[in-house]
Symmetry: C2
Subunit: 124 residues, 2 copies
DNA sequence: TATACATATGAACAGATAATCATATGTAAA
DNA sequence: TTTACATATGATTATCTGTTCATATGTATA
């Protein structure tokens, strides 16, 4: 995608834009770069799978290891591991090793905040 | 919250659960129903597409009609209309008719809040 | 070292989904 | 009513994505 759409409507010979043109120009100015909006969508996409949401929610209060999660949620070890990789890549979870196990937990308060906010909308 | 005995993995002959079992039980108790988590994932899924995010963001301050959006974002009318339908269904946008045009806008502050929260995470 | 346990990963397949195209519906003005 | 404009929608297609299966890597213990 290389199309940059900075088609800002210039004021014409009449000397002033219409109300509507002004609004459209303001929207164009305030719109973040495509790249940022792409990243934003990618972030939400990670939250947008029920398996990953279940996994995230299970870690809401406590760190858990892969087998804990798989057991709790009735998921295969492989599936959990694949999803945790995605969550790691997106910086939504962090982890630490202890012996043979690896304990995962939510990366920061942001993650909790985003989930909570979505929860409010859903529970309406 | 004091140490309460719960019913899941009730203490066995030894008289008490392990620390680990207690944690796992607590997670199980606190986990919302699958149905709710499914809806939550569905909600985030809607935010999880860059076209829809662009559309939502374009309406951050002002209502816009379909053609406005298509023009602003360089998208086909059909594509915008399809996506708006999804946004309508998810209650993320509302709309009103005025003559031949239909003006769409964000449905409530929740939507703005969720986007803003995600934005913070992305901009780190 | 050999074995068992815990987690990660690659490949393949099935299901989901967004864009496009063609067309339909709805609205207003001539 | 005819025409033009604005939006919606169904079908098709190409792409993306999550799960599974098999296997690999990593770690501790006998």
């Amino acid at each position: 995608m290389a199309e940059e759409n900075n088609n800002k409507l210039q004021a014409e010979d009449k000397g002033s834009q219409t109300e509507r043109e002004e609004i459209i120009n303001r929207v164009l100015e305030q719109q973040p770069d495509d790249e940022i909006l792409y990243d934003l969508a990618e972030l939400f996409k990670v939250f947008g799978d029920s398996t990953r949401i279940k996994i995230l929610y299970s870690m809401f209060e406590h760190e858990l290891c892969v087998n804990d999660i798989a057991g709790l949620l009735n998921l295969s070890q492989s599936s959990v591991s694949h999803q945790l990789r995605i969550l790691k890549t997106s910086k939504l979870v962090k982890f630490r090793r202890e012996g043979k196990s690896i304990y995962y937990s939510l990366d920061d308060e942001h993650v909790r905040a985003i989930i909570s906010m979505g929860m409010e909308h859903v529970e309406e």
